[in-house]
Symmetry: C2
C-alpha cells in the first residue's frame, strides 16, 4: 500500500522573557510524542535549577569558539555577555528519524535558521497579555537582580519588535488556550501540501 | 484595552465526490460557531433530500445567466450539464461581520476564488483512503444511475489531479481524525500573522 509521508519540520517558539514560552514548550513536548526539543549550547553559567543536556549544553567560551569554527552550529548569537547556539547534528538526526524539532530561540537565531531551512521552518511568536503582566513575570524571578530585570525589560522590548518576522502570532493570555493554538499550528503544518512526500503516487493509485 | 483582531478567512474544502467532504463540512459547521457555509447557486434540479437555501439556491438557467451578467458571483463554473456559482453578497456580509466562510467547491471554483482573494483563502484537498473505498462510496448512492457513477469516477480522477494546487492535503481514512485536522488548520490559520490586525499597537503598548 502506498503511504503519504512528510518531511520533518522545525517549530520555532520565540517570545520575550516572561511571556510563558518555557511552560508552553514543556507542555507541547509532554502532549506530542512526535516532536523533540533542540537543546542549545551556551557559555552562560548554569543556574541551580538547570540540568546539563536538558536545559542547555553548558560549554566554555573556548569550546563554543571551536564549535563555531567546526561548523557545528545551525545558528548562534551573542546575548548580553554570553553566546548561545544550536548544535546541528542532533537536529538533523531527529529530522532524519521522521521527528519534528522544537526550538526555543530568539529572533536572531530564527533569522539565521530561516536562511538555511526556509521551507521546513515554522515560526511562532508568543506575546504576553499586557504590560503589567510582563513586568510582573520578569520581577518574580527571585534569582535575578534589579539590573538584570531592567535589562530584561529592555531586551523584551527589542525582542517584541521582531514579531512581524514570524509566521504566527499568539497572545498568551491563558496557557491552556495558547497551548491548544500551538498544537493546532503543529497539526496544520504537518498537513501542508508542500511538506508531503508521495502524494502523486497515492493519488495515481486512487484512480488507476 | 488594545485588542488584536483578524480578517475573516475563506476555507475551501475540495475533493472528488465520495471522499466524505459533505460529512466533514457538516461536522465543522457543528463544532465551530465562527464559520458559516457559503451556499452555492445551481441550475441542477433539486434532489429529494436537499433543501433550498441550505444545500443550494436552485435557480433556472436564465436566472443564473442574469446573476453572471450582474457580477453577482465570486466564482462560477459548469460541471456536466449544470452550472454552479458562489453568490458574492452573503460571503462579503459574513466576512464583514467577523466570520469565516466555508466553501464546498471544486478545483475550478477554487482557482477563480484564489485569483480574487489570494491572501484570505485557505484551501484543503481531501483524498479518499483508497481506490476500493472511493468506488464503494460512489456506488452506494442509490439514486444515481450506472452512467452517472461512471461519469463521477472519471470526474473524480480529474478532480484528484488538482491536489497540487491546494495549501493542505488530508486523507480521509477516519472521519474523526480528518475532522480534527480541518479544525487544526482553521485554528492555525486564524493565528497567522499576516491575517492579524492591530498587533503593532498591541506590541507597542506592551513595552511603552
Amino acid at each position: 500500500m502506498i503511504e503519504i509521508r512528510r518531511r520533518g519540520l522545525m517549530l520555532v517558539l520565540s517570545s520575550p522573557s516572561g511571556a510563558g514560552k518555557t511552560t508552553l514548550s514543556r507542555l507541547l513536548l509532554e502532549t506530542d510524542s512526535g516532536i523533540v526539543m533542540s537543546v542549545s549550547a551556551t557559555t552562560r553559567p548554569k543556574r541551580p535549577n538547570e540540568i546539563e543536556g536538558r536545559d542547555y549544553f553548558f560549554v566554555t567560551p573556548d569550546a563554543f569558539g571551536r564549535m563555531i569554527a567546526g561548523g557545528e552550529f545551525l545558528e548562534y548569537a551573542g546575548v548580553f555577555d554570553f553566546q548561545y547556539g544550536t548544535p546541528k547534528k542532533p537536529v538533523m538526526e531527529a529530522l532524519a528519524a521522521g521527528r519534528d524539532v522544537l526550538f526555543d530561540i530568539d529572533w536572531q537565531g530564527t533569522q539565521q535558521l530561516k536562511e538555511r531551512v526556509r521551507e521546513d521552518l515554522v515560526s511562532v511568536f508568543i506575546l504576553p497579555p499586557s504590560h503589567a503582566e510582563l513586568e510582573r513575570r520578569l520581577r518574580t524571578r527571585a534569582q535575578d537582580s534589579d539590573e538584570v530585570v531592567s535589562r530584561r525589560m529592555s531586551k523584551a522590548a527589542d525582542e517584541i519588535s521582531h514579531w512581524p518576522e514570524y509566521d504566527y502570532v499568539i497572545v498568551n493570555d491563558d496557557v491552556g488556550r495558547a497551548h491548544a493554538k500551538i498544537v493546532s499550528i503543529l497539526e496544520a503544518e504537518r498537513a501542508r501540501r508542500a511538506r508531503l512526500v508521495g502524494v502523486s503516487e497515492f493519488a495515481a493509485a486512487l484512480t488507476r
